[in-house]
Amino acid sequence: MTLPLAMSALFAVFVTEPVSVAHYLVVGAILFTAGVACMATKRNALGVLMGIELVLNGANVNFVAFASPYLAADGARSLGLDGQVIALFVILLAAAEAAVALAITLNFYNNHATVDVDRADDLKG
């Protein structure tokens, strides 16, 4: 079986099945992992901030998936409104965190003329 045919077969299998919570969990896991890798490897302070946003977003995907009555299996309970409210709070706190972190980054840039997080070692003993 050639690769495109295998891909299309996989796609055909996927696209005829209904989604489940696990589909969303996999997407959330990929977003979370990408965010962690971003936080670990980027030297630009703004890149680290973007990694944090990705991590929070991955967590949000899981909350919304568990909250959805559409995705819940027959007879199973979904988290209901709780999950969506938590997702909303996460979005708000991410906005607050980004504002403060950006202010700190700009302050650091003004004082040190760089945004390299490896250079932020003034407090190192």
Binding site: L25, E53, R77
Partner: protein
């Protein structure tokens, strides 16, 4: 792999019937592919401006996933606050600090290798954990959810109008989210004041390095300058002399 082959042949011969396609799944795959692909691109990109662009794509596609899951209010908030607010803030930060050496800053190969190992291990663990619970792998029931804007808004002021979960009696008193809402509100106010305080333009007691470098002149030049000013002071254009 055996049962997939007839379907593949059906697709190749374009006989996959339209009615067999689950369009929720189709759009889920579309948005999930954009979200995950852009998230990986954020990690892979070296240019910070491109990273910001990919992040916008990823978060917008995630909003699409929220809409698909029936959380339309959260999806709208994701678009308005995250994509419209937080990321614009981040792009401002990128533009303010986009000096040539900082646009592309690469970390060392060892760090990348280690992060790759950790990332793959973490991803494997999370995916296995997500797939390990049988109840989460059950296909979606397809219950069309009610619009969530009103229940969300009412619950934030402490009144629950949504249906109680299956186990609870019908008229049970359930707590809303008034206290968390208040805490988040005050938190946002404090953060606003704090960010404005941190980012304000301040007069320094000790001049920063750039200003010191700009203001220092060689002493001889200063003396020469002063001497010129003293000898031809009356004839200076600036002082409006008559010479």
């Amino acid at each position: 792999m055996m049962p997939t082959i007839p379907i593949a042949e059906g697709l190749a011969g374009s006989v996959l019937p339209l009615a067999a396609i689950n369009f929720h799944t189709l759009f889920f795959l579309l948005f999930a592919a954009i979200a995950c692909g852009a998230a990986v691109a954020v990690v892979a990109a070296d240019n910070v401006v491109r990273m910001a662009l990919y992040l916008v794509l990823s978060l917008a596609a995630t909003a699409g996933l929220f809409f698909l899951a029936g959380a339309e209010f959260v999806g709208a908030m994701q678009l308005m606050i995250y994509v419209g607010g937080t990321l614009v803030l981040l792009v401002f930060g990128v533009m303010l600090t986009a000096q040539a050496p900082f646009v592309t800053m690469k970390s060392g190969g060892g760090d990348r290798l280690l992060a790759g190992f950790v990332g793959v291990a973490l991803l494997g663990m999370l995916v296995l954990a997500g797939l390990s619970v049988p109840a989460w792998r059950q296909p979606a029931s397809g219950t069309v959810p009610e619009p969530t804007a009103t229940p969300l808004g009412m619950s934030l002021v402490g009144v629950r109008v949504d249906q109680p979960p299956a186990g609870q009696p019908e008229g049970a008193v359930r707590s809303g989210y008034l206290l968390p809402f208040e805490i988040v509100s005050v938190h946002l106010l404090v953060v606003l004041v704090g960010a404005a305080y941190l980012a304000r333009a301040k007069r320094r007691k000790t001049p920063r390095a750039i200003e010191v470098a700009a203001s220092v002149e060689p002493p001889e030049a200063v003396a020469e300058h002063a001497a010129i000013g003293r000898t031809s002071g009356a004839g200076s254009v600036l002082t409006g002399g008559s010479a």
